[in-house]
Protein backbone atom coordinates (compact mmCIF):
# COMPACT_ATOMS: atom_id res chain seq x y z
CA UNK A 1 0.00 0.00 0.00
CA UNK A 2 1.66 3.27 -1.10
CA UNK A 3 2.11 5.89 1.59
CA UNK A 4 2.31 9.68 1.37
CA UNK A 5 5.15 10.97 3.51
CA UNK A 6 5.87 14.42 4.91
CA UNK A 7 8.76 15.99 2.98
CA UNK A 8 9.59 18.27 5.95
CA UNK A 9 9.35 18.35 9.73
CA UNK A 10 6.67 20.69 11.06
CA UNK A 11 2.96 20.93 11.74
CA UNK A 12 0.51 19.11 9.45
CA UNK A 13 -2.72 20.77 8.33
CA UNK A 14 -5.45 19.07 6.35
CA UNK A 15 -7.05 22.29 5.11
CA UNK A 16 -5.82 25.65 3.78
CA UNK A 17 -7.23 27.49 6.80
CA UNK A 18 -9.37 26.57 9.81
CA UNK A 19 -12.57 27.80 8.10
CA UNK A 20 -11.94 25.85 4.87
CA UNK A 21 -12.90 22.20 4.21
CA UNK A 22 -10.07 19.62 4.14
CA UNK A 23 -8.20 19.19 0.84
CA UNK A 24 -9.14 15.47 0.87
CA UNK A 25 -11.42 13.34 3.01
CA UNK A 26 -10.91 9.68 3.85
CA UNK A 27 -11.98 7.47 0.94
CA UNK A 28 -11.53 10.18 -1.71
CA UNK A 29 -9.58 9.40 -4.92
CA UNK A 30 -6.20 11.11 -5.37
CA UNK A 31 -4.41 12.00 -8.63
CA UNK A 32 -0.71 12.72 -9.01
CA UNK A 33 -0.08 16.35 -8.07
CA UNK A 34 -3.19 16.75 -5.89
CA UNK A 35 -2.61 18.78 -2.76
CA UNK A 36 -3.44 16.63 0.29
CA UNK A 37 -2.36 19.02 3.04
CA UNK A 38 0.08 21.65 4.27
CA UNK A 39 3.22 21.47 6.38
CA UNK A 40 4.06 24.56 8.42
CA UNK A 41 7.79 24.93 9.00
CA UNK A 42 8.96 27.95 10.98
CA UNK A 43 5.87 29.97 10.08
CA UNK A 44 6.07 29.21 6.34
CA UNK A 45 3.59 26.90 4.64
CA UNK A 46 4.40 24.19 2.09
CA UNK A 47 1.86 22.21 0.07
CA UNK A 48 2.13 18.42 0.20
CA UNK A 49 1.34 16.93 -3.21
CA UNK A 50 0.60 13.31 -3.99
CA UNK A 51 3.39 11.67 -5.98
CA UNK A 52 1.33 8.58 -6.75
CA UNK A 53 -2.37 8.17 -7.54
CA UNK A 54 -4.84 6.09 -5.56
CA UNK A 55 -8.52 5.25 -5.60
CA UNK A 56 -8.96 5.99 -1.89
CA UNK A 57 -6.89 7.98 0.62
CA UNK A 58 -6.80 7.24 4.34
CA UNK A 59 -5.17 9.79 6.62
CA UNK A 60 -2.84 8.56 9.34
CA UNK A 61 -1.56 11.92 10.67
CA UNK A 62 -3.94 14.12 12.65
CA UNK A 63 -4.78 17.67 11.66
CA UNK A 64 -2.62 20.36 13.40
CA UNK A 65 -0.27 17.75 14.84
CA UNK A 66 3.55 17.78 14.74
CA UNK A 67 5.19 15.46 12.20
CA UNK A 68 8.80 14.54 11.49
CA UNK A 69 10.29 14.50 7.97
CA UNK A 70 9.43 11.14 6.41
CA UNK A 71 6.44 10.56 8.69
CA UNK A 72 3.51 8.84 6.98
CA UNK A 73 0.70 11.35 6.49
CA UNK A 74 -1.70 9.10 4.61
CA UNK A 75 -1.99 5.74 2.88
CA UNK A 76 -3.43 5.10 -0.57
CA UNK A 77 -5.41 2.16 -1.96
Amino acid sequence: MPALQSPLPGTFYRSASPDKPPYKVDGEAVAVGDVIGLIEVMKSFHEVKAETAGSAIRFVAENEEPVMAGAVLAELD
Binding site: L8, P9, G10, T11, M42, K43, E64, E65, P66
Partner: protein, 458 residues
Protein backbone atom coordinates in the same frame (compact mmCIF):
# COMPACT_ATOMS: atom_id res chain seq x y z
CA UNK B 1 11.88 45.08 43.13
CA UNK B 2 10.39 41.95 41.60
CA UNK B 3 11.35 38.70 43.36
CA UNK B 4 10.44 35.89 40.98
CA UNK B 5 9.76 36.26 37.27
CA UNK B 6 8.09 33.88 34.83
CA UNK B 7 9.27 34.32 31.24
CA UNK B 8 6.33 33.58 28.90
CA UNK B 9 8.47 33.02 25.83
CA UNK B 10 11.21 30.86 24.28
CA UNK B 11 14.32 31.19 22.12
CA UNK B 12 16.90 33.94 22.32
CA UNK B 13 14.58 36.49 23.97
CA UNK B 14 13.79 34.12 26.86
CA UNK B 15 17.55 33.68 27.37
CA UNK B 16 18.03 37.47 27.19
CA UNK B 17 15.34 38.12 29.83
CA UNK B 18 16.68 35.41 32.17
CA UNK B 19 20.11 37.04 32.01
CA UNK B 20 18.75 40.51 32.85
CA UNK B 21 16.68 39.12 35.74
CA UNK B 22 19.65 37.26 37.20
CA UNK B 23 21.81 40.38 36.97
CA UNK B 24 19.20 42.05 39.20
CA UNK B 25 18.95 39.12 41.62
CA UNK B 26 15.46 38.12 40.46
CA UNK B 27 14.63 34.39 40.43
CA UNK B 28 13.50 33.01 37.07
CA UNK B 29 10.96 30.46 35.88
CA UNK B 30 11.02 29.26 32.27
CA UNK B 31 8.02 27.72 30.50
CA UNK B 32 8.41 25.32 27.61
CA UNK B 33 6.49 23.15 25.17
CA UNK B 34 7.11 19.44 24.58
CA UNK B 35 9.32 20.48 21.63
CA UNK B 36 11.55 22.69 23.82
CA UNK B 37 12.43 20.39 26.73
CA UNK B 38 16.15 20.66 25.90
CA UNK B 39 16.12 24.38 25.04
CA UNK B 40 18.73 26.72 26.51
CA UNK B 41 16.19 28.93 28.33
CA UNK B 42 14.99 25.82 30.18
CA UNK B 43 18.56 25.00 31.21
CA UNK B 44 19.41 28.53 32.35
CA UNK B 45 16.31 29.35 34.41
CA UNK B 46 16.11 28.49 38.12
CA UNK B 47 12.97 26.45 37.45
CA UNK B 48 11.11 25.30 34.34
CA UNK B 49 7.49 24.26 33.77
CA UNK B 50 6.09 22.29 30.82
CA UNK B 51 3.01 24.10 29.53
CA UNK B 52 1.86 21.81 26.72
CA UNK B 53 2.30 20.36 23.22
CA UNK B 54 4.53 21.86 20.48
CA UNK B 55 1.79 23.91 18.76
CA UNK B 56 2.15 27.49 20.06
CA UNK B 57 -1.57 27.91 20.60
CA UNK B 58 -1.52 24.94 22.96
CA UNK B 59 1.57 26.11 24.89
CA UNK B 60 3.15 29.56 24.49
CA UNK B 61 -0.24 31.11 23.68
CA UNK B 62 -2.09 29.16 26.39
CA UNK B 63 -2.90 31.89 28.95
CA UNK B 64 -4.41 29.52 31.52
CA UNK B 65 -1.39 27.19 31.46
CA UNK B 66 1.02 30.13 31.83
CA UNK B 67 -0.92 31.69 34.72
CA UNK B 68 -1.09 28.30 36.44
CA UNK B 69 2.68 27.83 36.05
CA UNK B 70 3.25 31.29 37.58
CA UNK B 71 0.93 30.48 40.47
CA UNK B 72 2.39 27.01 41.12
CA UNK B 73 5.96 28.33 41.25
CA UNK B 74 5.18 31.40 43.39
CA UNK B 75 6.05 34.04 40.79
CA UNK B 76 5.13 37.69 41.36
CA UNK B 77 5.57 38.78 37.72
CA UNK B 78 5.50 37.74 34.04
CA UNK B 79 7.64 39.05 31.17
CA UNK B 80 6.05 38.32 27.77
CA UNK B 81 9.14 38.94 25.58
CA UNK B 82 8.17 39.72 21.96
CA UNK B 83 5.73 37.86 19.73
CA UNK B 84 3.35 35.27 21.26
CA UNK B 85 1.33 37.13 23.97
CA UNK B 86 3.47 40.28 24.17
CA UNK B 87 0.93 42.58 22.53
CA UNK B 88 -2.20 40.78 23.66
CA UNK B 89 -4.15 43.30 25.76
CA UNK B 90 -6.27 40.50 27.24
CA UNK B 91 -3.13 38.76 28.50
CA UNK B 92 -1.88 41.93 30.22
CA UNK B 93 -5.31 42.27 31.85
CA UNK B 94 -5.38 38.59 32.86
CA UNK B 95 -1.92 38.79 34.46
CA UNK B 96 -2.97 41.86 36.46
CA UNK B 97 -6.30 40.27 37.43
CA UNK B 98 -4.37 37.25 38.75
CA UNK B 99 -2.55 39.60 41.13
CA UNK B 100 0.74 39.45 39.20
CA UNK B 101 2.85 42.19 37.64
CA UNK B 102 2.87 42.29 33.83
CA UNK B 103 6.28 43.52 32.65
CA UNK B 104 4.93 45.91 30.06
CA UNK B 105 2.17 48.46 29.63
CA UNK B 106 -1.46 48.18 30.74
CA UNK B 107 -4.01 46.32 28.65
CA UNK B 108 -5.58 49.69 27.80
CA UNK B 109 -2.31 51.07 26.41
CA UNK B 110 -1.78 47.90 24.33
CA UNK B 111 -5.37 48.12 23.06
CA UNK B 112 -5.05 51.80 22.12
CA UNK B 113 -1.81 51.31 20.18
CA UNK B 114 -3.03 48.05 18.62
CA UNK B 115 -5.97 49.86 16.98
CA UNK B 116 -4.47 51.54 13.91
CA UNK B 117 -7.03 54.34 13.70
CA UNK B 118 -7.00 55.06 17.45
CA UNK B 119 -3.18 55.05 17.49
CA UNK B 120 -3.07 57.45 14.53
CA UNK B 121 -5.53 59.78 16.26
CA UNK B 122 -3.55 59.63 19.53
CA UNK B 123 -0.34 60.44 17.65
CA UNK B 124 -2.00 63.33 15.83
CA UNK B 125 -3.37 64.69 19.12
CA UNK B 126 0.13 64.49 20.65
CA UNK B 127 1.54 66.55 17.80
CA UNK B 128 3.32 63.60 16.17
CA UNK B 129 3.36 63.88 12.36
CA UNK B 130 1.23 61.17 10.76
CA UNK B 131 1.22 59.99 7.14
CA UNK B 132 -0.98 62.54 5.31
CA UNK B 133 -4.46 61.19 4.75
CA UNK B 134 -7.88 60.93 6.34
CA UNK B 135 -8.03 60.98 10.14
CA UNK B 136 -10.82 58.43 10.09
CA UNK B 137 -13.41 57.40 7.53
CA UNK B 138 -13.74 59.53 4.43
CA UNK B 139 -17.15 61.16 4.20
CA UNK B 140 -17.89 60.77 0.47
CA UNK B 141 -16.01 61.68 -2.72
CA UNK B 142 -16.12 65.45 -2.19
CA UNK B 143 -14.33 65.08 1.16
CA UNK B 144 -11.96 62.63 -0.52
CA UNK B 145 -11.00 65.19 -3.19
CA UNK B 146 -10.23 67.66 -0.41
CA UNK B 147 -7.91 65.14 1.31
CA UNK B 148 -5.96 64.79 -1.95
CA UNK B 149 -4.59 68.31 -1.34
CA UNK B 150 -2.63 66.85 1.61
CA UNK B 151 -1.74 63.45 0.20
CA UNK B 152 -0.87 64.15 -3.42
CA UNK B 153 -0.24 61.07 -5.61
CA UNK B 154 0.13 58.16 -5.45
CA UNK B 155 -2.60 57.76 -2.86
CA UNK B 156 -3.84 54.60 -1.18
CA UNK B 157 -7.56 53.92 -0.71
CA UNK B 158 -8.22 51.34 1.98
CA UNK B 159 -11.39 49.63 3.15
CA UNK B 160 -11.97 50.54 6.80
CA UNK B 161 -13.14 47.01 7.47
CA UNK B 162 -10.30 45.41 5.48
CA UNK B 163 -7.01 44.17 6.82
CA UNK B 164 -3.92 42.17 5.98
CA UNK B 165 -3.55 43.93 2.64
CA UNK B 166 -7.13 43.21 1.54
CA UNK B 167 -9.29 45.99 0.14
CA UNK B 168 -6.43 48.29 -0.90
CA UNK B 169 -6.24 50.32 -4.14
CA UNK B 170 -3.57 52.74 -5.25
CA UNK B 171 -4.30 55.66 -7.58
CA UNK B 172 -1.41 57.32 -9.42
CA UNK B 173 -3.33 60.40 -10.62
CA UNK B 174 -6.68 62.18 -10.42
CA UNK B 175 -8.25 60.25 -13.32
CA UNK B 176 -7.41 56.94 -11.68
CA UNK B 177 -8.65 58.26 -8.36
CA UNK B 178 -12.04 59.35 -9.74
CA UNK B 179 -12.50 55.83 -11.08
CA UNK B 180 -11.04 53.92 -8.14
CA UNK B 181 -12.83 55.65 -5.27
CA UNK B 182 -16.42 54.64 -6.15
CA UNK B 183 -15.22 51.16 -7.13
CA UNK B 184 -13.43 50.75 -3.79
CA UNK B 185 -16.57 51.89 -1.98
CA UNK B 186 -18.76 49.36 -3.79
CA UNK B 187 -16.22 46.57 -3.31
CA UNK B 188 -15.79 47.29 0.38
CA UNK B 189 -19.55 47.19 0.83
CA UNK B 190 -19.80 43.89 -1.06
CA UNK B 191 -16.78 42.25 0.58
CA UNK B 192 -17.06 43.50 4.15
CA UNK B 193 -20.65 44.79 4.41
CA UNK B 194 -19.13 48.19 5.19
CA UNK B 195 -18.34 50.77 2.48
CA UNK B 196 -16.17 52.90 4.79
CA UNK B 197 -12.83 53.99 3.28
CA UNK B 198 -9.58 55.55 4.51
CA UNK B 199 -7.03 57.41 2.43
CA UNK B 200 -3.28 57.66 2.92
CA UNK B 201 -0.35 59.11 1.00
CA UNK B 202 1.89 56.43 -0.52
CA UNK B 203 5.54 57.05 0.32
CA UNK B 204 7.43 55.09 -2.30
CA UNK B 205 11.00 55.48 -1.07
CA UNK B 206 11.11 55.59 2.70
CA UNK B 207 13.49 54.62 5.44
CA UNK B 208 12.20 52.80 8.51
CA UNK B 209 13.35 54.67 11.59
CA UNK B 210 12.08 53.97 15.10
CA UNK B 211 12.59 55.54 18.50
CA UNK B 212 13.16 53.56 21.71
CA UNK B 213 11.28 54.97 24.70
CA UNK B 214 11.27 54.12 28.40
CA UNK B 215 8.41 55.30 30.59
CA UNK B 216 7.12 54.79 34.12
CA UNK B 217 3.49 55.81 33.68
CA UNK B 218 4.20 59.41 34.67
CA UNK B 219 7.28 60.41 32.72
CA UNK B 220 9.00 59.20 29.55
CA UNK B 221 12.46 59.45 28.01
CA UNK B 222 13.94 58.28 24.70
CA UNK B 223 17.10 56.27 23.98
CA UNK B 224 17.49 57.66 20.46
CA UNK B 225 16.65 55.94 17.19
CA UNK B 226 17.33 52.77 15.24
CA UNK B 227 17.21 52.43 11.48
CA UNK B 228 15.76 49.18 10.13
CA UNK B 229 15.39 49.87 6.41
CA UNK B 230 16.94 46.60 5.25
CA UNK B 231 13.91 44.35 5.12
CA UNK B 232 12.79 41.25 3.27
CA UNK B 233 9.05 40.67 3.03
CA UNK B 234 8.54 43.38 5.67
CA UNK B 235 10.83 41.50 8.06
CA UNK B 236 13.83 43.43 9.34
CA UNK B 237 17.11 41.64 8.71
CA UNK B 238 19.79 44.27 9.53
CA UNK B 239 19.29 47.07 12.06
CA UNK B 240 21.56 49.86 13.17
CA UNK B 241 21.83 52.84 15.47
CA UNK B 242 22.06 55.72 15.05
CA UNK B 243 20.55 56.38 11.59
CA UNK B 244 22.99 58.07 9.25
CA UNK B 245 20.10 59.70 7.37
CA UNK B 246 18.98 62.14 10.08
CA UNK B 247 20.29 65.63 10.65
CA UNK B 248 20.80 66.56 14.34
CA UNK B 249 17.77 68.86 14.15
CA UNK B 250 15.48 66.20 12.69
CA UNK B 251 16.78 63.55 15.14
CA UNK B 252 15.81 65.87 17.97
CA UNK B 253 12.32 66.45 16.53
CA UNK B 254 11.80 62.73 15.90
CA UNK B 255 12.88 61.60 19.37
CA UNK B 256 10.92 64.38 21.09
CA UNK B 257 7.77 63.40 19.24
CA UNK B 258 8.09 59.80 20.47
CA UNK B 259 8.40 61.02 24.06
CA UNK B 260 5.30 63.21 23.60
CA UNK B 261 3.28 60.21 22.43
CA UNK B 262 4.48 57.99 25.30
CA UNK B 263 3.56 60.70 27.81
CA UNK B 264 0.20 61.36 26.17
CA UNK B 265 -0.87 57.72 26.62
CA UNK B 266 0.66 57.39 30.15
CA UNK B 267 2.92 54.68 28.80
CA UNK B 268 4.81 52.36 31.12
CA UNK B 269 7.78 50.13 30.29
CA UNK B 270 9.83 49.91 27.12
CA UNK B 271 8.19 50.80 23.81
CA UNK B 272 9.10 51.66 20.26
CA UNK B 273 7.53 54.36 18.13
CA UNK B 274 7.97 53.50 14.45
CA UNK B 275 8.19 56.05 11.65
CA UNK B 276 8.66 56.28 7.91
CA UNK B 277 11.29 58.82 6.94
CA UNK B 278 10.85 60.38 3.50
CA UNK B 279 14.43 61.35 2.72
CA UNK B 280 13.63 63.46 -0.34
CA UNK B 281 11.12 65.59 1.57
CA UNK B 282 13.19 65.39 4.82
CA UNK B 283 10.02 64.56 6.77
CA UNK B 284 9.03 61.74 9.10
CA UNK B 285 5.64 60.19 9.72
CA UNK B 286 4.31 58.00 12.55
CA UNK B 287 3.37 54.44 11.56
CA UNK B 288 2.71 52.62 14.84
CA UNK B 289 3.86 52.06 18.38
CA UNK B 290 5.04 48.62 19.46
CA UNK B 291 4.22 48.07 23.11
CA UNK B 292 6.97 45.54 23.87
CA UNK B 293 10.72 45.00 23.84
CA UNK B 294 11.84 44.56 20.22
CA UNK B 295 14.14 42.05 18.59
CA UNK B 296 16.61 44.79 17.63
CA UNK B 297 16.83 46.42 21.09
CA UNK B 298 20.54 45.47 21.53
CA UNK B 299 21.76 48.11 19.04
CA UNK B 300 20.29 50.77 21.31
CA UNK B 301 21.91 49.12 24.33
CA UNK B 302 25.29 49.16 22.59
CA UNK B 303 25.26 52.87 21.75
CA UNK B 304 23.72 54.08 25.04
CA UNK B 305 25.12 51.55 27.54
CA UNK B 306 21.62 51.01 28.95
CA UNK B 307 20.26 47.50 29.68
CA UNK B 308 16.72 48.01 28.39
CA UNK B 309 15.38 44.69 29.70
CA UNK B 310 16.75 45.44 33.18
CA UNK B 311 15.09 48.88 33.05
CA UNK B 312 11.78 47.21 32.13
CA UNK B 313 12.09 44.95 35.17
CA UNK B 314 12.90 47.89 37.47
CA UNK B 315 9.94 49.90 36.18
CA UNK B 316 7.61 46.89 36.56
CA UNK B 317 8.90 46.51 40.12
CA UNK B 318 7.59 49.98 40.91
CA UNK B 319 10.74 52.11 40.56
CA UNK B 320 10.42 55.47 38.83
CA UNK B 321 12.66 56.10 35.81
CA UNK B 322 16.26 56.11 37.04
CA UNK B 323 17.64 58.03 34.10
CA UNK B 324 17.18 61.63 33.09
CA UNK B 325 17.07 62.46 29.40
CA UNK B 326 20.36 64.33 29.82
CA UNK B 327 22.00 61.12 31.16
CA UNK B 328 21.50 59.38 27.83
CA UNK B 329 24.10 59.94 25.16
CA UNK B 330 25.07 58.16 21.96
CA UNK B 331 28.51 56.62 21.72
CA UNK B 332 29.67 55.16 18.40
CA UNK B 333 27.63 53.02 16.03
CA UNK B 334 26.03 49.58 16.40
CA UNK B 335 24.71 47.06 13.86
CA UNK B 336 22.67 43.90 14.42
CA UNK B 337 22.01 41.12 11.91
CA UNK B 338 19.41 38.39 12.32
CA UNK B 339 20.79 34.92 11.75
CA UNK B 340 17.79 32.85 10.73
CA UNK B 341 17.58 29.12 10.00
CA UNK B 342 16.85 29.88 6.34
CA UNK B 343 18.80 29.09 3.21
CA UNK B 344 19.38 32.29 1.20
CA UNK B 345 20.57 30.22 -1.76
CA UNK B 346 17.14 28.53 -1.94
CA UNK B 347 14.78 31.46 -1.65
CA UNK B 348 15.20 31.61 2.13
CA UNK B 349 13.54 28.24 2.63
CA UNK B 350 13.33 27.34 6.33
CA UNK B 351 15.99 24.94 7.50
CA UNK B 352 15.31 23.25 10.83
CA UNK B 353 18.01 20.80 11.90
CA UNK B 354 20.63 19.98 14.49
CA UNK B 355 23.59 22.23 15.27
CA UNK B 356 26.89 20.39 14.80
CA UNK B 357 30.06 22.39 15.46
CA UNK B 358 29.43 25.91 16.74
CA UNK B 359 31.98 28.73 16.84
CA UNK B 360 30.78 32.03 18.29
CA UNK B 361 32.56 35.28 17.39
CA UNK B 362 34.09 37.40 20.15
CA UNK B 363 36.59 40.13 20.83
CA UNK B 364 36.03 43.86 21.31
CA UNK B 365 32.60 45.27 20.43
CA UNK B 366 30.98 41.93 19.59
CA UNK B 367 27.83 40.52 21.20
CA UNK B 368 25.99 37.31 20.31
CA UNK B 369 22.41 36.88 21.64
CA UNK B 370 21.26 33.34 20.98
CA UNK B 371 19.82 30.10 22.32
CA UNK B 372 22.17 27.90 20.28
CA UNK B 373 24.54 25.27 21.63
CA UNK B 374 26.38 22.44 19.89
CA UNK B 375 23.99 19.49 19.54
CA UNK B 376 20.83 21.64 19.83
CA UNK B 377 18.01 20.43 17.55
CA UNK B 378 16.17 23.50 16.21
CA UNK B 379 12.46 22.67 16.31
CA UNK B 380 10.41 23.37 13.15
CA UNK B 381 7.41 24.75 15.04
CA UNK B 382 8.50 28.31 15.81
CA UNK B 383 10.22 31.36 14.41
CA UNK B 384 13.42 30.81 12.41
CA UNK B 385 15.53 33.30 14.42
CA UNK B 386 18.62 31.50 15.75
CA UNK B 387 20.84 34.33 16.87
CA UNK B 388 21.48 38.04 16.69
CA UNK B 389 25.03 39.15 16.01
CA UNK B 390 25.59 42.69 17.26
CA UNK B 391 28.71 44.78 16.79
CA UNK B 392 29.69 48.17 18.17
CA UNK B 393 32.49 50.46 17.00
CA UNK B 394 33.45 54.13 16.99
CA UNK B 395 32.06 54.81 13.51
CA UNK B 396 29.58 53.20 11.11
CA UNK B 397 32.41 52.33 8.75
CA UNK B 398 34.34 50.58 11.53
CA UNK B 399 31.16 48.79 12.64
CA UNK B 400 30.67 47.32 9.15
CA UNK B 401 34.30 46.18 9.07
CA UNK B 402 33.84 44.63 12.50
CA UNK B 403 30.61 42.93 11.36
CA UNK B 404 32.47 41.33 8.44
CA UNK B 405 35.23 40.23 10.83
CA UNK B 406 32.74 38.74 13.32
CA UNK B 407 30.82 36.95 10.54
CA UNK B 408 34.07 35.40 9.32
CA UNK B 409 34.59 33.92 12.81
CA UNK B 410 31.03 32.61 13.08
CA UNK B 411 30.51 28.97 12.25
CA UNK B 412 27.15 27.21 12.67
CA UNK B 413 27.51 23.74 11.16
CA UNK B 414 24.57 21.47 10.39
CA UNK B 415 22.15 24.25 9.40
CA UNK B 416 21.76 26.68 6.54
CA UNK B 417 21.65 30.23 7.89
CA UNK B 418 21.38 33.77 6.58
CA UNK B 419 25.09 34.41 7.28
CA UNK B 420 26.00 34.55 3.52
CA UNK B 421 23.42 37.33 3.05
CA UNK B 422 25.09 39.50 5.67
CA UNK B 423 28.59 38.81 4.35
CA UNK B 424 27.40 40.00 0.93
CA UNK B 425 25.61 43.03 2.38
CA UNK B 426 28.62 44.08 4.47
CA UNK B 427 30.69 44.05 1.26
CA UNK B 428 28.11 45.99 -0.78
CA UNK B 429 28.87 49.60 -1.78
CA UNK B 430 25.29 50.83 -1.25
CA UNK B 431 25.15 49.31 2.23
CA UNK B 432 28.53 50.80 3.06
CA UNK B 433 27.26 54.20 1.90
CA UNK B 434 24.03 53.72 3.88
CA UNK B 435 22.14 54.38 0.67
CA UNK B 436 18.97 52.28 0.97
CA UNK B 437 15.24 52.33 1.69
CA UNK B 438 12.68 49.76 2.84
CA UNK B 439 12.26 48.20 -0.60
CA UNK B 440 15.93 48.28 -1.56
CA UNK B 441 16.86 44.80 -0.32
CA UNK B 442 14.18 42.97 -2.33
CA UNK B 443 15.48 44.52 -5.55
CA UNK B 444 19.09 43.79 -4.56
CA UNK B 445 18.23 40.13 -3.88
CA UNK B 446 16.88 39.73 -7.42
CA UNK B 447 20.17 40.83 -8.97
CA UNK B 448 22.62 39.41 -6.43
CA UNK B 449 21.28 35.89 -5.89
CA UNK B 450 24.59 34.46 -7.16
CA UNK B 451 26.47 35.99 -4.22
CA UNK B 452 24.39 34.02 -1.73
CA UNK B 453 26.33 30.78 -1.94
CA UNK B 454 25.07 27.89 0.19
CA UNK B 455 26.34 28.04 3.74
CA UNK B 456 25.90 24.29 4.19
CA UNK B 457 28.54 22.11 2.55
CA UNK B 458 26.93 18.88 1.28
Amino acid sequence: MLKKLLIANRGEIAVRIIRAARDLGIETVAVYSDADATALHVQLADEAVNIGPPAAKKSYLNVDAILKAAHDTGCDSIHPGYGFLAENAGFSDAVSAAGLVFVGPSGDAIRLMGDKVAARSAAHAAGVPIVPGSLGRVDGIDAARHILIDTGFPVMIKAAAGGGGRGIRIAANLAEFEQAFPQAEAEALAAFGDGGLYMEKVITKARHIEVQVLADGADAIHCFERECSLQRRRQKVWEEAPSRALSPRLRDELCSSAVRLARAVNYSGAGTVEYLYDEDADRFYFIEMNTRIQVEHPVTEMITGIDLVAEMLRIAGGEPLRLLQSDITVKGHAIEVRLNAEDPARGFAPFPGTVAALCIPGGPGVRFDSMLYAGYAVPPFYDSLLAKLIVHAETREAAITRMARALSELQIDGLATTKPLFQALAADAAVQAGDFHTRWLEGWLETHAARLTPSLEP
